[in-house]
C-alpha cells in the first residue's frame, strides 16, 4: 500500500482554488488504482486532510498522517511548507512544494527532503520578464513594470528577483502590496491608472485575483499587458470579470485544457464509476490539471523509487530517493496520456527544482478557456542560480546543516 496524503483546503478563504487542485490530485490516484491497480501493482491509499489553508491545521494533518506511512506531502501552501521543512526533514519524509514554498529548497544539497520541481517563484518572475523581453524586441530599457502582490511571504518572493532583473534589463519596478484577503484594491489600481506602467505582474491568490482582474478591467488596463503567476491563472480568477478579462495572461508550468488522452481514462474509470473527488465538476480546469500533474509527478517518483529499491511497498526514505532520481521526458508523458503536458526535467541531488521552464497562457473569454501562447521558456539561470545558492547557504549556516551531495 502506498500512502499519499493530500493536505487540501475545501473550506476557508481559498477554498475556491483549493478544491480543483485537490480534485485533480485525488482523481489521478483514483485512476491509477482503478485502471492499473495502483503503482507497480501496489495499491494507492490517499488520505485527504482538510487544512483550510491554516498552518495549525496543516501541522495537525501532518502529524496525524505521517504515522500512516505517508510518502510525500503536497500542502499547497507556502506557510504550511515552511512549517513542514524542519519537521519533515527530521522525520525523513519528502515534501513536494510544486511551484511554491521556499524557493531555495531547489538546492538539494541543503534541503535534502524538500523538492520544488519543476519550477519556482523566482523562475516565474524571470519567465514573465523573458516573455516581456520577447514582446519588446529584447529590451525593457526604460519600461515601467508594476508588481501587484499578496502581502505575505508568498507575494514577496519575486521582489528580490525582479529587482535584480530590473538592474540587468533596465526597467523600473514599482511595488503594490495587497493585504489579505484583497477585496478592496482601489488604491492599487488607481495608482496603476496614474503611473501607467507598461506591464503589471501579479502574485495573487484567492479573491485577490478576481478583484485585481476586475479592477484592471474597470480602469481599462490592457489585459494582455497584465501577467499573473501560475497561482493567479485559474478560471476562477477571470470568469467573474466576464468578457472584460479577455486577453489576460498567466504563467503556467503545465498544459491547459482537457484535450489529453488521460482525460478519457479519467472519464471512463473515475467519473463514470462515480468515484470522482469532490463534486466532480472541475475536470480540465487549470488548477485541476495542476493537481493532476502533481499526482502524476508523485506517481512517477514512486515508480522510480520502486525501480531503484526493487520493492513495491515504499518507505518515505525510498520515495525521497525516487524523487531525487526523477526524470520526466516527453516519451514518458506521452506514455501516460499526457503528451506535451509539461516541460522535461531531471531531478538530482544538487537540483531539486527542475530547470525553471514556464509558459504563458492567455484567457479567451469568448471560448471560456485558456490557451498556451508560448513554448516553455527557461528562466534566467545566470541571475537566479546565485540567489538560490546564497539563500540556501544562509539557511544551512543558520540551522547548522552541512551541505553535501
Amino acid at each position: 500500500e502506498l500512502v499519499f496524503p493530500s493536505l487540501s483546503y475545501r473550506t476557508g478563504p481559498y477554498a475556491a482554488n483549493g478544491i480543483p487542485f485537490a480534485d485533480g490530485y485525488a482523481d489521478y490516484f483514483t485512476l491509477l488504482n482503478e485502471r492499473d491497480g495502483g503503482i507497480g501493482g501496489e495499491p494507492i491509499r490517499m488520505i485527504e486532510c482538510e487544512t483550510g489553508y491554516n498552518t495549525e491545521k496543516g501541522v495537525e494533518c501532518y502529524e496525524s498522517t505521517k504515522g500512516e506511512g505517508a510518502l510525500v506531502y503536497q500542502p499547497l501552501s507556502t506557510g504550511i511548507t515552511y512549517q513542514l521543512i524542519p519537521k519533515a526533514t527530521a522525520d525523513g519524509i519528502p515534501v513536494h512544494s510544486m511551484g511554491y514554498g521556499r524557493t531555495s529548497a531547489k538546492d538539494g544539497s541543503v534541503f535534502k527532503n524538500i523538492f520544488n520541481y519543476p519550477t519556482n517563484y523566482w523562475d516565474g518572475a524571470s519567465v514573465a520578464i523573458k516573455h516581456l523581453l520577447d514582446l519588446n524586441g529584447g529590451s525593457l530599457e526604460g519600461k515601467k513594470i508594476a508588481l501587484v502582490y499578496h502581502n505575505s511571504a508568498y507575494g514577496k518572493e519575486p521582489i528580490r528577483t525582479l529587482e535584480e532583473l530590473g538592474k540587468k534589463h533596465g526597467f523600473e519596478l514599482s511595488l503594490l502590496p495587497v493585504d489579505h484577503p484583497g477585496q478592496e484594491q482601489k488604491s492599487q489600481w488607481l495608482q496603476i491608472r496614474r503611473e501607467k506602467p507598461d506591464n503589471v505582474i501579479m502574485y495573487g491568490w484567492g479573491v485577490m485575483n478576481q478583484v485585481a482582474v476586475q479592477e484592471a478591467a474597470n480602469i481599462r488596463y490592457p489585459m494582455d499587458q497584465f501577467i499573473g503567476i501560475w497561482w493567479s491563472g485559474s478560471e476562477n480568477d477571470v470568469r467573474p470579470a466576464g468578457d472584460k478579462a479577455n486577453g489576460y495572461k498567466a504563467l503556467t508550468f503545465h498544459n491547459v485544457g482537457d484535450d489529453f488522452p488521460v482525460f478519457d481514462d479519467i472519464q471512463k474509470y473515475v467519473v463514470d464509476t462515480g468515484k470522482a473527488a469532490g463534486a466532480g465538476d472541475q475536470i480540465g480546469t487549470a488548477l485541476y490539471n495542476r493537481g493532476l500533474y502533481a499526482a502524476m509527478l508523485a506517481a512517477e517518483a514512486a515508480k522510480t523509487a520502486q525501480g531503484i529499491h526493487d520493492t513495491k511497498a515504499l518507505t518515505p526514505a525510498q520515495m525521497r530517493d525516487g524523487m531525487e532520481a526523477l526524470e520526466i521526458t516527453e516519451a514518458k508523458m506521452a506514455d501516460l496520456g499526457l503528451p506535451n503536458f509539461g516541460p522535461e526535467f531531471t531531478v538530482s541531488c544538487e537540483n531539486h527544482g527542475g530547470n525553471g521552464f514556464g509558459a504563458v497562457a492567455q484567457w479567451d473569454a469568448a471560448a471560456d478557456s485558456w490557451s498556451l501562447i508560448t513554448d516553455y521558456i527557461q528562466s534566467d539561470q545566470d541571475v537566479l542560480a546565485p540567489l538560490v545558492t546564497e539563500d540556501a547557504q544562509a539557511f544551512a549556516a543558520e540551522s547548522g546543516i552541512e551541505p553535501s551531495c
Binding site: G12, I19, P181, Q183, S187, R193, Q214, R239, G242
Partner: protein
C-alpha cells in the same frame, strides 16, 4: 489643474465611493445593534449567505446537492433552469426573512436580557453555523454574481472631467449605483426608525427591553423585523461586493472593513454609518496615496482605518453620531 492635485481629488472621490460600500455593510450592524444591543458578528457571513443564495437561485443550483450526493450516491447539482434576477432577489429575501425568524426563535429568544458580550458570542456561533450551512447548501466554489449592474469606468465622467480639467477622473459605475442605493437605504431606514410606530418600538426595545415588554411591544416581532431588515441590507451588500469580487467565502471578511466605519460613526446611528464610511474611505485612501505608498511601503489601509477611528474615539468615545453614553451614579 496640477497633476498631483488632480490625482488627490480622484483618490478622494474614490475614497468616498469605497466608503459607501463599507457603509452598506456597516448599516446591517447598526440596525441590529440599535434594536437589541447585539453586536452582530455574523453580519458579514449573512452577506455571504445572501449572496450565495442569490447566485445559487439564479443558477438553478440544487441546495445541499453535494451532501445529498455524498449520502445517497446520486449525482444531482442543477435543476437546469435559470431564475430571472429580480425574482431570485425576492426569493432570497424570503430566505433571509426565514433566517431572521429562525434566529429569533431558536437563539435570541432564549438569551433575552443577557450581557452584550454573551449575545456577541452567540452571533459568533451563528456565524460559524451559517458559514457551514452556506457551504453545504451551495458549495464553496466561487460563483459570479450577475444581476445586471453596470461596472467599470464611467465614461461620461471621464470625458467631462477630461474636457474640463485635462484629467479624466475614474469613477466606477458600480460605485455610483452603490451610492444611490445606499442613500435610498439610509433615508428609508432613518424614516422608518424615526417616524413609524415600529421604528419607535425598535428604539424603545434598544433602550430597555424589559420596559418595552411591559408596554406590550413584542420583542419577537421587533427582532424578527430588524433581523429581516439586516438580512435585506446584507443582501444588498452581498450583491454589491459579490459583483465586484465574485461570491465566495472571502465575502464574509468585508465585515472587517465595516468595523472601523461602525465605531467611527457610532454603533447606534444610521446616518453615522454613512458618514463614518465616507470618512474612513477617504481617510484610508488618501493616507495610502499621500503617505502609505510613497513612504511606508504600502498596504497601510487596513490598520490606518482603525487608527483613524481610534483617534476619533479618543475625542468622542461614543463615535461621531452615537448616542451619548449616559454616565451617572
Amino acid at each position: 489643474m496640477p497633476e498631483q492635485l488632480a490625482f488627490t481629488i480622484e483618490v478622494f472621490l474614490n475614497g468616498l465611493m469605497a466608503g459607501v460600500l463599507y457603509a452598506l455593510v456597516a448599516l446591517g450592524f447598526v440596525l441590529i445593534y440599535k434594536a437589541s444591543g447585539i453586536f452582530n458578528y455574523a453580519q458579514g457571513v449573512m452577506a455571504l449567505f445572501a449572496a450565495l443564495t442569490l447566485a445559487g437561485i439564479i443558477d438553478g443550483q440544487v441546495p445541499f446537492s453535494h451532501l445529498i450526493n455524498a449520502i445517497l450516491g446520486t449525482d444531482i447539482h442543477h435543476f437546469g433552469w435559470h431564475v430571472p434576477a429580480f425574482l431570485a432577489i425576492l426569493l432570497t429575501m424570503v430566505v433571509m426573512i426565514g433566517l431572521a425568524y429562525a434566529v429569533q426563535r431558536l437563539v435570541f429568544r432564549h438569551l433575552v436580557g443577557q450581557e452584550p458580550i454573551i449575545l456577541f458570542m452567540a452571533t459568533i456561533g451563528l456565524a460559524y453555523f451559517l458559514e457551514g450551512v452556506g457551504d453545504l447548501m451551495w458549495g464553496s466554489d466561487i460563483k459570479s454574481m450577475d444581476v445586471g449592474l453596470p461596472q467599470g469606468l464611467n465614461t461620461w465622467i471621464d470625458d467631462t472631467t477630461f474636457n474640463a480639467f485635462g484629467y479624466g477622473f475614474f469613477i466606477d459605475n458600480l460605485d455610483i449605483v452603490a451610492s444611490i442605493i445606499a442613500a435610498l437605504l439610509v433615508i428609508g431606514l432613518v424614516m422608518f426608525a424615526q417616524y413609524t410606530k415600529q421604528g419607535r418600538a425598535m428604539r424603545a426595545v434598544a433602550d430597555d427591553h424589559q420596559a418595552a415588554l411591559s408596554v406590550g411591544v413584542s420583542l419577537n416581532f421587533i427582532w424578527i423585523l430588524v433581523w429581516s431588515l439586516a438580512g435585506f441590507v446584507a443582501l444588498v451588500a452581498g450583491i454589491m461586493w459579490g459583483t465586484k469580487s465574485g461570491v465566495q467565502f472571502s465575502l464574509s471578511l468585508i465585515a472587517l472593513k465595516a468595523l472601523p466605519v461602525l465605531m467611527l460613526g457610532g454603533f447606534t446611528s444610521i446616518p453615522g454609518a454613512i458618514v463614518g464610511g465616507l470618512i474612513i474611505g477617504v481617510g484610508e485612501k488618501l493616507f495610502e496615496f499621500l503617505i502609505g505608498a510613497p513612504f511606508l511601503g504600502g498596504a497601510t489601509e487596513n490598520w490606518f482605518a482603525y487608527m483613524l477611528a481610534l483617534i476619533f474615539l479618543v475625542f468622542r468615545p461614543q463615535g461621531l453620531f452615537g448616542e451619548k453614553i449616559i454616565e451617572r451614579v
